[in-house]
Amino acid sequence: MDYEFIKSRLHLYAVLQNIEDLVQYDDVAKNLIKDWNIIVKFSVRKAGSVYLIFENGKCTVRELSPKKPDVILFFTSPAHLNKMFDGKANPIPLKGITKLGFLTKKFPKLTERLEYYLKPDEQKLKDKNYVTINTVMTLNTALYALKELLLFDPIGEHAAKKVKGSMVMMNVNKGPAAYIEQKGNTFEVHKGYAQQPLAVLEFTSIKIANDFLNGKMDAFSAIASGAVATKGHIEWLDAVSPVLDRVALYLS
């Protein structure tokens, strides 16, 4: 699979899902969407589609929707979507022309907020609350991106052969968690704690998790010093480690 395709899958399935957490943890975002009752579909030719379902002050991001979308944002190619994420292109609204106000004024405010949390800098990282939200999003992004890379990236596909029957959980001690499990020919990602994880990568604190996930900490050193704990089938963690490192190749 080519670079643009994989990158677009990461944008669709690993980045956009962060809106769920954004509107849960960030008061500004929460306030923005509190009255929204709308389903927005991102549809990318030859890559896939995703639904953002806003209702009752919450957002759920799904590949399938129980209802028809109110708005469809169409992208003619994976590269088109990627350009939009770089701020260099706009989607084609296929449905929801009557909701132009929503699309041009309200929705961009939400995506700006998402961008704020996904692009940390030293100043922002001085804010504890920011660090927490950024960590939750980075952790979730890592696992959702891992799924896509295991399915489509050449090194990921190779690693996928080594993690048959796997279930890997990443969590912060007494904090946020998510896990990925291999199911049939694909992988499923879930937010929250697994009941009986088979492999665990646990960060002792939010700060450690943030440094680790943002590539500021060497994995071996972090594990050996106890800042990051691994247990269970650590051979699976070994196998996916080079794949996780590739997330930055697509999203940095």
């Binding site: 060497d218 071996f220 050996a224 247990k231 269970g232 089938h233 794949v243």
Partner: protein, 433 residues
Amino acid sequence: MKVEAKGIKYSVSSKSKSKTYTYTKSQKLFQRALKVIPCGIPGHFSPAPFVPPTMYPFYAERSKGSHFWDIDGNEFIDYMCAYGPIVLGYNHPQVEKAAQEQNSKGNCMTAPGKIMVDLAEYLTDTIAMADWAFFAKNGGDVTNLAVMIARAATGRKKIVMIKGGYHGVAPWMQGYGHYGVIEEDVANIITIDWNNVKQFEEVIAANPGAIAGFIATPYHHPTFADSEFPADGYWQRIRELCTQHGIVLIIDDVRCGFRLDIRGSAEYFGFKPDLACYCKAIANGHPISALVGVDALKTVAAKVFYTGSYWYQAAPMAAALATLKELRRINAPVLLNKIGKKLFEGMKKICASYGYELKITGAYSMPFVRITNDPSNMLHQEWCAECTARGAYFTSHHNWFVCAAVSDKDIQKTWNIVDDVCKLLKKKYGDKY
């Protein structure tokens, strides 16, 4: 070698209440190391696979017999034996004397010492299939040389190896996906499942006249998984196929060598490879490895240019000669497996008395040991860590090694530790597992 054994007696001391170790100096030194050495301790000595690493020593200070002491002064009965090289026990007097004597005469010199010929003669006399010997430093040096010789001899490119098999750290050995390995590095490597002759036949059929060599360990001993012996007739069929199709049969006896059969592990399983690789136990901790081969490949081996700055060091050769003589004198493989059988079958019974199944696979001299009650391995990892922190050095990810210096006293102490830890885990988890 059957892992089930009858008549093993064990006992545990009711007074035993082993204390757990602390590793303040190890941790402190590791912090210094992190500043100047990538990941502090790189490679297979990295603490990263220990669960948790904080319950293991990171740095050793000294060693003797079957024990080593870390820099915090903690003493361990060593069931990893430096990951295999220590076979007679640390600081074996005859081996050290031979090395020191040679060292005082000359070690790294402008020409090889006479000892190189002495060692080659003794090694080819010891290993049944060997007509010649070539010396290097590490196991990976000679597995790589074996592949080069196979390619030079056949004029072919492709090498067949076993999935999960370990032959060193050169890119072709590590496999695509590992850091620093590119697709082209493994373009001519074909991997098949262990014990699967049919797959080998299919690979031969799919690559007519293209396979230079087949490389595998005498039995399958991957990390993170149980060891597996060859099925009946496996090696004999592989030998037949290699002969029939002009494929060089390479045995990586680096880990098993001298722990199954003094004449080479191929003898143990009843077949004759074309090339066999040795390291680890060959010199009881001194740096040397060897590739041995059949006469038919000697001329080609001579043509392959392969060397290293320290490969002609005479002292490790003297150590290897002394080690091999001692291994033959005590018939080490038989002794090591006898010690291992007593130790591990006793441990099995202790664990069973707490409701834990201790599964032992591979040879008793280097088994993979695993508590099976928890499918996530976390119970097993905790058990290994708690035993280590009480003085019996166990790892959860790699096969263990037994050396000839393990005494009955060591075994008794190990059993006591195992009993203490099983008791602790049972108290902690009840009947959860």
